[in-house]
Amino acid sequence: MAYVRFENISFAYGDNQVLKNFSLSLEKNEIMCLVGPSGCGKTTLVRCLLGLNRPSEGEIWVGDTCMFSSKRRINVPAERRGIGIVFQDYAVWPHLTVKENIAYPMRKRKVPKQEIDRRVEDVLRLVRMSEYINHLPSQLSGGQQQRVAIARALMTSDDLIVMDEPITNLDAKLREQMLYEIRELQRNVGTTVFYITHDQRAALQLGDRIAIMDPKGDLIQLGSDEDIILRPKTRFVFEFIGVTNFLNLKRVDGQHKLDLGSTLAPWPGEVPQELRGGAVIDVGIRPNDIVFDRSSPVRGTVERAVFLGSEYEYFVRAGEKTLRIQQGSLDAGQSGIVREGSEVGLKFLNPYYYPAAREEAV
């Protein structure tokens, strides 16, 4: 039995239906990353779990406790759910010291004072903030405040912690470090972490499993990082996960040809069975899945070549499309660096086929 279960959750702000029949389960002791573009309903879902929003339909379970059920009229108030939360803006109380902030959940549960002191020291050691115990939040940096927020969440619960975009407000270097620390912390304490973000890279780095929501608030794919990267279920997931080139295949005389705007080029790849009927098919290709091949019938001109250290990035014009191509520096060194202005043949290694969406210049 899964540890946290959202069952057919629906939620609307007035006429704006944010979530519709949303279901998702978290296993115990895993880090689940919920990823989706801004405004897709991630935060709404979290607020439903915490008891800050009241869904119109569905059930929410944590362990064997039903936190919410529209049918059975159960709605455990936020203060009795005992779920740790780390907010994006930290929400560390500015008028309380680090110690008072962290001790607050315990104080509300009437834990004896010595016990609180002991636990505060433990958890501060865990987030490496021991020397700041009597500081006010205004004396701490953003990263330190975030650690206080995490420590406070651990005091509320060491079974389940929700983190809603916890590192978005930090600078790039600190973000990396916090991700690593969250991972370590989870390993040491064994907490279940529900991590919400719009940053797919953070999710891939951190999550045991990743759930992807689309802008409409539907769950489209759930899986490991490998699943998501190698087997993106829809065009949306494919695009969301990284830099992409999108091309169109056009069916001419029962054959799919590559549509380059002004010309049609032969398409050597195998179009999957279920898409063969489509007049137009979208093909997505990662920049490092396009290679130069003199013998390829697809021709283009290199407009710009950029050296990025570990790799070369090329912008190649083919017909009316501009493709982005990446080549590892090692490969480039072996096969010769392609100069700007030269004509190249292009070979597509790992095409992903999707039903046609609206046409977009990539």
Binding site: L50, G51, L52, V62, G63, T65, C66, M67, R72, R73, I74, N75, V76, P77, A78, E79, R80, R81, G82, I83, G84, I85, F87, Q88, D89, A91, W93, P94, H95, Y104, P105, M106, K108, R109, V111, A149, R152, M155, T156, S157, D158, D159
Partner: protein, 573 residues
Amino acid sequence: MINLRGKTKDLAAVDGRRRIGLDAVMTALSFVLLLVIVVTPISMIIYHAFFYQGQFSLDLLIDQFTRETTLSAMWNTIKIALLVTVFGTIVGVFYAWLLGRSNIPGKSLMRFLFTIPYMFPPFLGAMAWDLLLNGRSGYLNRWAIKTFGLSSAPFNINSIWGIVFVELSYYFPFVFMQVVSALERMDPTLEESARIAGARQGTVIRKITLPLVTPAISSGALLILISSLAHFGVPAILGFSQGIFTLPTRIYAVIARSGGSFDGIRQGAALSILLVAVVAIALWIQQRVIRSGGYDIIKGKSMRPTVINLRGARIPLFILALSTLVVIVLVPLVMIFLVALVKAYGLPLIPANFTLANYERIFTASGTIESIKNSMILSVSAGFITMILGTLVAYVVQKIRPKGSTLLEVMSVLPYSIPGTVLAIGVILAWSGSLGINLYNTLWIILVAYIARYLSFSMKTSSAALLQVHPSLEEAARTCGASHTESLKDITLPLIRPAMVSGFFLIFLPAMREVTTSVLLYGPYTRTLGVQIYSLRDAGMMPQASALGSVAIVLIVVVNTIVNALNQRRKGV
């Protein structure tokens, strides 16, 4: 591990058994209190102006509005307000520019001195000028007649122009303060680029600076207009003896003459409708002006503006500014304190005629002591109650946002735009028995009026503070196991406490020196400090009135100093 979730199992149907939530209670309470405190008096005025013995009737309104006295009072009100607005704006803008943008000496001290009239009660100023420039008995007038052998007094403060002058000296800070801060926040590159493009100093001021501060000027000017339209103290002190009435003083006179009879109050209610209509037109203009104005180029953060070198005009302008300060701040102050010491009004102001007997008299007269006590009780309790109520309404409006929260907001700021005189009549009509509650002649009726009058002050300061408290702070407390009440008590209240305290003093100070509403509401044992000064003066006891006035000034200065010290300390943390 301590786990809370274990306990929730037996709380399965929490939602089903839940009592009415705290939010609902606070919302309902806000609505009920505002209905009672604000809406009731206002509706009573409207009702009594349009209905007589349960019958709809326009007779009263027509009768009142066609009277010559009403029309002349209305005309005076508008004339005075417009003159004060025009001259107040000119003076305010001029000094704002001089102290904000030029290299005049002693800028920061002078800027502070120029805001003093803002906290000084205008009716005391009127009293001081009356002592000095009264057509018959003013000190300066009598001195001029004697010295130059004039046949009549050269000045007459008891005139429209006298009223305009005194109101002007207390209302120009509205424009002054708004414009100074706008000038400060203006991006200096806007002016610099005009200079670089070849514009002269004068052209830059005319074409760049003035247009950019226009929104600040117009909002300050409209504040003057509305305050002057509703103003009671100055025209009451300077105009009565010459039969010069404005609408607020006419309303007071009608009620005073009728000895508080119902008929008089009804006439007052009818005149109130007229006064409210005049103010409403001014407010309507204000809305239109504010909507059309506003530039983004005035930044929120403080910058270093270009300072204009006055060159040869530096010293003459400095002397001009200094003399203005002497006239509007020093002269009235000195007059009050000197007359407070003189044995009898009219005796020359020389040490030989000085005595402390006036102070002795006011501090031994039970009425005076009583009035100070009353004002203290009223100001402290009005400040305290209004602080709580304003915060409650602000919380409901900002955080709970129920249906009708806009209505709630409008109700709480409504009394601010209603003249104090009108509010007093509404309070009399509502709370002197006609609705089954009779508070007439008690402190309670004044308290109710003060609460209604000052509610918007605390509501605004608390609202601003609550907007700074991000909802996640309270939500974090909830998820940490705090109930709604506990999260309010532990998190929200401590965070907005400083704003609540300053809200308290924002009410305490004006309530201490209030005359406009209390002069209509006081009873034999419920005189306030302002009313007592007013009556002493009315009875011709100028030295005693001045002595009590000086006590009021000292009280105000002391409290103000304490508030400023508190604010300083808070900023220091």
